[in-house]
Symmetry: C2
Subunit: 156 residues, 2 copies
DNA sequence: CTTGATGCAAATGGTTTGCATGTTT
DNA sequence: AAACATGCAAACCATTTGCATCAAG
């Protein structure tokens, strides 16, 4: 498990742990899936994108820069596989296409109604509320997908 | 001209404040919009649905029970108008169609990943977190649209 | 060599739009 | 009468699927 404490000290934004795709591929293989060019490439592009949340189409473009024969529909199938495997998390920040990021890189989103800007919030941010959810309703909130809409500082 | 107020609610089913559509229509008119059969009917069906979150298509079916000529695309246009006017709030609980409810009836949603069940949470539930959002990020959370995903009590 | 993965094209589902016509103000 | 709203069909966009072929195990 990646410790959030790894981003110690620095004043910079998010010191994000660079994801190594090999263990992920290994996990896939262990689950009976075959390792293909497309699957490796999709994971690598996700790793390269780091903080960005890429849509299936954006991901396809980037993958095709190296492997032009990889088809959009394959990327969709790959993303579905990776999501079911728990490696990627799908996120709907606004209307339009879904976006993906590594599940291990847990965080939430605050999306501005006006400018569309997305603020990433640390996973722990919603702790008080999710605990209350569990106590009051027996509902166990996912630590990786929570979206608030509202108005960001520069749009108020 | 549509049928006037038949909203003399007896037979009360839900413990929710019954919404009176007349003031809402008045607000619309005040903003320069014209009052039409479709607009009145959409608001009335929203009021009748109370707790349910209806999609554009469901809403259209219900409206058509009384006014068969009202077209799906008109309902979409009406919903967009009502949302822009701040009267309705659009919500994406899961994949599939968006759903709508009165903005005045503020609440949030906890959606179960497994069974799709939707728990409605009181508007005040997220208070501590939204305040922190404002303090830390200057982000003013909308009081009407916040969705948590996770696993509900009966699916754990 | 067997099973699963891919490319492609065509279908799908939700939503939007162009335009001629009809309705509200 | 002017401005706006509607019905309808057709376009649109993100995503999914059927099927013949191909590659990983």
């Amino acid at each position: 498990m990646p410790t959030p404490a790894e981003s110690v000290g620095s004043l910079a934004t998010v010191a994000r742990t660079t994801v190594d795709v090999e263990p992920l591929l290994e996990a896939l293989r262990a689950s009976g899936a075959k390792i293909t060019t497309a699957r490796r490439a999709v994971l690598e592009e996700c790793a390269r994108a780091e903080a960005d949340h890429l849509s299936a189409e954006e991901l396809t473009e980037r993958v095709q820069a190296r492997y032009p024969e990889v088809h959009l529909s394959t990327v969709y199938r790959t993303l579905e596989l990776l999501e079911r495997a728990g490696l990627l998390t799908r996120v709907h920040v606004n209307d339009g296409p879904a976006a993906y990021h590594f599940t291990a890189d847990a965080h939430h989103h605050a999306v501005c109604d006006r400018c569309g800007r997305v603020i990433e919030l640390p996973a722990a941010f919603f702790r008080p509320v999710t605990r209350k959810l569990e106590v009051d309703y027996g509902f166990v909130a996912s630590p990786t997908h929570l979206t608030v809409t509202g108005t960001c500082a520069s749009c108020v």
